[in-house]
C-alpha cells in the first residue's frame, strides 16, 4: 500500500542524505520526495511517498523517528488530507488542434505558460489522478516533454507546524 509521509527535519547539511541513506540501506523504496524549508528556517519538511506492507511502513516510521535530525514523522494514510503535485507538459500543437487543447486546459483549470508555433507548455496542479487524466487527454496530440514534482500534502484539520 502507498503511504504519504511528512517528515520534519532539522535544516542542516547532510540531512537529505541521512533520509535517503536510511531508505536505501534498509531496502525501503521511495516513489517521490520533495524537500523545502518551512516557515521556520531551521526546519525543513520532506514529503515522501513510499510503498510497503504494514510491517514495512511501521519500520519506516520508526526508523525515521530514530534519526536524531528528524523532529516529527506523520503518516497521512487513513486521514483526510489534501495532496498536490505540479506538472509541466509540453504538447505539440498546430492550427487545427489549438482550440481543442485550450479547451482541455480550460476543463482542468490548467494554465498555458509558454506558447510557440508548434507547442503549448501547460502547467497543471492537482492530485496524481488529475494529472494523469490530463496527460491521457493530451497524449494523442503528442507530448514532447513532461516534468512533474513529487507530492506535497497537508491534513484537512488544522495542524501545528
Amino acid at each position: 500500500m502507498r503511504h504519504t509521509i511528512s517528515v520534519l527535519v532539522s535544516n542542516e547539511f547532510g540531512v537529505l542524505s541521512r533520509i535517503a541513506g536510511l531508505f536505501s540501506g534498509r531496502g525501503f523504496n521511495i516513489e517521490s520526495l520533495t524537500v523545502a524549508e518551512t516557515l521556520d528556517a531551521a526546519v525543513s519538511r520532506m514529503t515522501i511517498v513510499t510503498r510497503g506492507d504494514d510491517k514495512v511502513v511501521e519500520q519506516i516510521n520508526k526508523q525515521l523517528n530514530k534519526l536524531i535530525s528528524v523532529i516529527k514523522v506523520h503518516d497521512f494514510t487513513g486521514e483526510a488530507h489534501i495532496q498536490r503535485e505540479l506538472a509541466l507538459i509540453k504538447v505539440s500543437s498546430n492550427q487545427e488542434n489549438r482550440a481543442e487543447i485550450l479547451s482541455i486546459v480550460d476543463i482542468f483549470r490548467a494554465k498555458v505558460v509558454d506558447v510557440s508555433p508548434r507547442s503549448y507548455t501547460i502547467e497543471i496542479t492537482g492530485d496524481e489522478e488529475k494529472i494523469r487524466a490530463i496527460t491521457e487527454l493530451l497524449r494523442p496530440f503528442g507530448i514532447k516533454e513532461f516534468v512533474s514534482t513529487g507530492r506535497i500534502a497537508m491534513a484537512r484539520t488544522p495542524k501545528q507546524r
Binding site: V9, S10, F13, G14, S17, R18, G21, L22, G25, K55, E58, Q59, K62, Q63, N65, K66, L67, I68, S69, V70, I71, K72
Partner: protein, 565 residues
Amino acid sequence: MKKTGAQTFIECLIKEGVDTVFGFPGGAVLPIYDVLYDEPLRHILVRHEQGAVHMADGYARATGRPGVVIVTSGPGATNTVTGIATAYMDSIPMVVFTGQVPTALIGNDAFQEADIVGITRPCTKHNYLVKDLKDLPRIIKEAFYIATTGRPGPVLVDIPKDIQMASAEYKYPERVHLEGYNPTYKGHSGQVKKAMDFILSSKRPVIYAGGGIILSGAANELKTFATRLGLPVTNTLMGLGGFPGTSPQFMGMLGMHGTFAANMAVMNTDCLIAVGARFDDRVTGKLDEFAPYAGIVHIDIDPTSISKNIMVDIPIVGDVKDVLKEMCELIPPTKALNAFKKGTGDWLKQVDEWGASHKLSYKQEAKGKIKPQFVIEKLYEATKGKAIVTTEVGQNQMWAAQFFKYDRPRTFITSGGLGTMGFGFPAAIGAQVACPNATVIGIAGDGSLQMNIQELATAVQYKLPIKIAILNNQVLGMVRQWQEFFYDKRYSHTCVSVAPDFVKLAEAYGAIGLRATKPDEVALVIKQALAVKDTPVIMDFKVDPFEDVYPMVPSGEPLNKMLLV
C-alpha cells in the same frame, strides 16, 4: 579568554569526565596533539586506528562509560570504520573524533581528505562536521549525550584543522537541547500491567535476555525478577553476564550455538519474555517457526527493535531497568505467587531434564590433542571465573560463551552483531586500561588474533598484563566447520598454518610467550601466565584442528533442529 579550537576541544573532553583517549596522530590533528603534549589527559598511543576504536569499545563495555578516540583525517578516519560499525551493531557508547582537512579544502580531493561523515552515516548513531568553532562545545556536549543515552551507540565528530587552530571564547553548555531526540525510559504502565498479568497466567514461561540488560545496568533487577518468579533464563551472546551463569535457573545461551535446554525451552514456551534483545537471526533460526507456542512480551528501549523480525504480543518501549523494576513491584503476594509457581512446576522439571540430557560436552583424552573447550574450562577454574574475558570471532568466541561462566555483567566482551575478527585483542587492551586491577583474558583464534596483532606493541608500552589465550588450530575454524558440514569438506582457503611462532612473536614485541602442546601442560601455562604482572602474555595452545562447535542449528533451520555431539 580566547582559546584555540584544540584547547577548547580538550577542555570540553575533561568537562565530560573523559580520563582516557585512544588515538593515533596525523597531519589534520596536529593542533590537538600539541595540546596533548602537556598531558591534560591520558592518551593511549595505538599502532593502527582500528585498534584504537576497538580499545575504546573494550573500555566502554568494561565500564559503561563512553570510549573516546582521536585520529587524523583520510586514512586515519577510514581505518576507524570497522570499529565504529562494530560498536554500532552492539550499541556501545563511543565518541570518535577525526581530524579533517581545513574547511577551505573540503571537497577539493585534498591530501588525506575523506568524507568520513558521509562514510560513517549508516554506522553511527549520529555524526557531525564542525564548520564553525563556536559550535564545537555544543557539538561535543551533544555527541556524548547522544552516545550514552537511549539505546547507546557511536557518534563521530569531524573537526577541520582550521577550526582546531582558530581562537574564540567559549562556554561549555550545561544542557542539551535536541528537538528530535527524546528516548523513552519509563514503560507504559498499562502495558507493564498487561505483561505481568500475561506472565502470571502462563504455564511455561521463559526469559530471553540480551545485551540491553548490561547496557541498562539491569542485572540486579533481572535477577530479582527471575528469582522471585522462579523463571528459567537464557541469555543471548550479548547478554552473557547479565544473569548469573552459575545460577540453577540459567539455561545457557540460546540460538545457533545455544544449549539444548535453552533452544528447546524457547521452542516450547507459552510465554517468552524478551528483555533488551532484538531477535537477531543467529538467535531465532528460521523465523516463522520461532517460538511457535509463545505469546511474546518484548521490553526494549528502541522502538525499531520491536516487531522488526518477530511480531510481538505485548511490546513495552522503555529502559529495561525501569521496566523490570516496575514489574518486580507487581509481583503478587505469597499466595498468588505460590499458585503461579505450582502451575509452572512441571515446566521447570522439563527444562531441567533437557539440561541434564544434553549438557555441553567434549572429550579430552589424556594423551590426545588439547581440546579448545578444555583450555576454556581450565581458564575458568584458574581464575575462579573472576576475570574479564574478551573474544575474537568464530569458534573461539562460541566456546568462550559456552564453557566459561559469567556471573557478573561487563565481564564478557565480544563482537556479537558485526562479528569482527580482530576485535578481541584490542578490546582486551581497552578493558585492562579501564580496569587495571582486573584479570583480563583475551580468548583468541590464531586467525583473528593476526588481524590486529600490531597492538601487542601498545600493550607492552603501557605495561598491560593482559593474558591472550590462542586456541591455535591453524585453521579459520568456524568457516572450516561450515565447509565440513555444508560444503562437502572442501576446505577452501581456510588453512592458515603458515603463521608466526607466537611465542617468538611475543618475545619480539617484548611480551612473554608460553606454549602448551599437551593437555597436561595447559593448567601450568595458565598458572604461569596469571602470575605475570606488568607485561602482556601470549599463551599459544596447540589445539585439535578438527574440533567443532556443538550444538549447531544450521542456518535457516528452526531452533529445535540442532546438530548435537
